[in-house]
């Protein structure tokens, strides 16, 4: 990038020259990076010994892709971006939001309410399973988790890397209490939320003095501790085997099974597992809406304003007489409560829980959704969950790729690889998230840029 712009002669030539130079540089770097990891593959042979073989072709493909990619970025991508930036500056800023944007949440809600019907109508009861379960419910669980974590990270500004612990507490509360004591889903749903909130307070209390990254690592540690206890306390939790055959949720006592008084029989419909999934879809949708409603209401209440104030400036908060201890604890507890709700829903949906579902990677994914969506913005988080989770789920469906890359190609393997890469790319191009951060709800006289927008890394 050190090439000097020589504007008087031929800028086009210069650009191509620069592109070639950088392309070759990128190719050399890529050759170094992938030489051992792509160029050589290690495998076990039939004697179970580790052997290696070279993969020069794959290495060459990677190097060429890097070089050509860099060349195109320099010659085409960067000038285009620069031109667009200049365009945006010249354009008069659009004042106000368009009517469409305002109506978007309502449209989305209508679509979501109709979604299972559309799926059934288009794909039939059996075919709709995939769309309702893998896409609908899966994405909505992450929306709910994202909105729950948003209270802690987005509103109160406390970086929590162990959110999945509360999800686990909720899931195991339901799994254990329903299998051991036979309590119903509707009793356990609030109870799991309360238990998770309780754990949120227990874990929150000792870490209140910590800030920023220290808080992050301690919450990460707590998340791991809960998972390790679930693995090792096998008398109660059955360890890594997990708890299976967890009772399903019921609708006013009506069971979703093929029995005489099951849902399908009562409604006079053909028995199908699709009804339970559709029921679960509306259930998680209702839970999501509850989360959103509570968040929106809380933001207008003194406690919500205290959270936002805490996020912007903790010292100023203390100077103004806000009790930072209770403020932080309520954020932790309420965030944890929604995690607990989502957890008990998860247990009811899967019918099976094991510690494998609550690894750190889940926390990282939820945090990524919150940050990529734009911290504090509910709509942004929903979009981020849709793109990141829906995108990776979509990858499972890419059967046609097998035609291109051969029958051994399994797209699932690349799911997390692409997820990681997407996290990096989205952050690079939109560091403020898809929608951008929410500004504080309350203002004195006029909207000003808040200090949070200027916060540098490591000193927030």
């Amino acid at each position: 990038m050190a090439a000097v712009q020589n504007s008087s002669t031929h800028p086009e030539d210069n650009l191509v020259q620069k592109g070639i130079k950088e392309g070759i540089f990128a190719g050399v770097i890529a050759f170094g990076l992938f030489l051992l990891y792509i160029g050589v593959v290690t495998e076990q042979n039939i004697h179970n010994e580790l052997v290696y073989r070279f993969r020069w072709f794959a290495l060459a493909v990677f190097v060429i892709i890097a070089a050509v990619g860099r060349f195109l970025v320099v010659t085409v991508g960067q000038p285009w971006l620069a031109a667009r930036k200049a365009d945006a500056k010249n354009k008069v800023a659009d004042s106000g939001e368009s009517a469409l944007k305002k109506a978007l949440p309502k449209l989305a809600l209508v679509f979501l309410l109709a979604y299972p019907m559309l799926a059934v109508g288009l794909a039939g009861p059996q075919g709709s399973l995939k769309y309702v379960d893998n896409f609908g419910i899966q994405i909505l669980i992450y929306v709910m988790l994202g909105w729950g974590l948003n209270i802690v990270v987005g509103l109160a500004g406390l970086l929590d890397l162990g959110y999945v612990a509360f999800y686990a507490v909720g899931a195991y509360s339901y799994a254990l209490l329903s299998t051991y004591f036979g309590l119903s889903f509707w009793v356990l749903l609030p109870l799991s939320g309360i238990l998770a909130a309780f754990w949120g307070m227990i874990l929150g209390f000792p870490v209140l003095r910590l800030r920023g990254d220290y808080l992050a690592i301690v919450t990460l540690a707590f998340g791991e501790i809960i998972r390790l206890v679930l693995i090792n306390w096998s008398d109660v939790t059955k360890g890594t085997f997990g708890i299976s055959s967890i009772p399903k949720a019921t609708l006013f006592g009506i069971k979703f099974d093929a029995s005489k008084d099951g849902f399908a029989a009562l409604m006079g419909l053909a028995p199908s597992s699709a009804y339970y999934k559709i029921f679960l879809f509306y259930l998680i949708l209702a839970l999501c809406l509850l989360t959103a409603y509570v968040t929106i209401r809380l933001r207008r209440m003194p406690i919500g304003r205290a959270w936002e104030a805490l996020r912007e400036d903790e010292i100023a908060c203390r100077a103004l007489g806000i009790n930072t201890v209770t403020t932080k604890l309520t954020a932790f507890a309420i965030g944890a409560m929604f995690g607990g709700f989502a957890g008990s829903f998860f247990a009811a949906r899967q019918g099976f829980v094991s510690p494998d579902s609550f690894i750190f990677m889940e926390s990282a994914i939820i945090l990524a959704i919150v940050v990529l969506g734009g911290m504090g913005s509910l709509g942004g988080i929903a979009v981020a969950a849709l793109v990141m989770i829906g995108g990776t789920e979509l990858l499972r469906e890419m059967e046609f790729l097998k035609v291109i890359f051969g029958p051994d190609f399994t797209p699932e393997l690349y799911r997390m690889l692409l997820f990681g890469a997407a996290m990096v790319l989205v952050m690079l191009f939109k560091p403020r998230g898809f929608v951008g951060s929410r500004e504080p709800t309350a203002f004195l006289r006029e909207r000003k840029a808040v200090s949070g927008s200027f916060t540098k890394e490591g000193h927030g």
Partner: protein, 302 residues
Amino acid sequence: MEYFVQQLINGLTLGSIYGLVAIGYTMVYGIIGMVNFAHGDIFMLGAFAALIVFLILSPIIGIAGVAVIVLLLAMLVVAMFMTSLWNWTIERVAYRPLRGSFRLAPLITAIGMSIFLSNFIQVAQGPRNKPIPGLVNDVYTIAGLSVSLKQIIIMIVTATLLAVFWYIVNHTPLGRAQRATEQDRKMAALLGIDVDRTISITFIMGAALAAVAGAMYLIYYGVASYSDGFVPGVKAFTAAVLGGIGSLPGAVLGGLLIGLIESLWSAYFTIAYKDVATFAILAFVLIFKPSGLLGRPEVEKV
């Protein structure tokens, strides 16, 4: 008593590995104030580079006599070079454009990079564990204690590297530039320090140490896996925080402490809860001394 000392030796070996990785965390945190979450995976890349070099070289030169020394050196050097290149590229691509952006942005790219790297190795090299035959198997018995040659090598290499790095940071122009950048990046830039270059070199140094740790982890346990980055990475980060993040001696001390806690806990209590013990002690230290053991207390600026 002998059992206790034996566990101490095992703990110090493990602690040396954690300490080396912790230095990478602490240096990067000190200089740009971000948690380089991908550092654990850089450690794993180091182990894989060493593994591949071992597979390629060992049939050619054998694993007896002088050849072992050549082999070990080649594994260390290639692993250091590979991870340095990776960490340099990662810093360039994923962290540098976000410098000066808000605090969570580089953390998220770091987590993304961590996911990317471990899955990249899973896809490129396969998900199975990769065992290698034992490389140096001599075990000495001194006064009833058994010390393996591996442990001696690990401790000697760690001590040597620490001495070299201590010298670089405290007594060379490069180290001075690093310390200046750490204290005040803007002022350092005004005084003619190439801040970008200094930060790049910090990443390279951290990666090289992580590679050595990875290679020695491979030699010690004889197995590498794509998922090996996370747990040692988190423990090394715990070590860095325990010792006081930003402090080099603190990172080493924290690493040794974590290693000792882990091996003593597994020896005297239960191996199942050793990680719980590590994390619980971290939480306790932070609650009562939030700046870590050797860290400077953070001054709040209004």
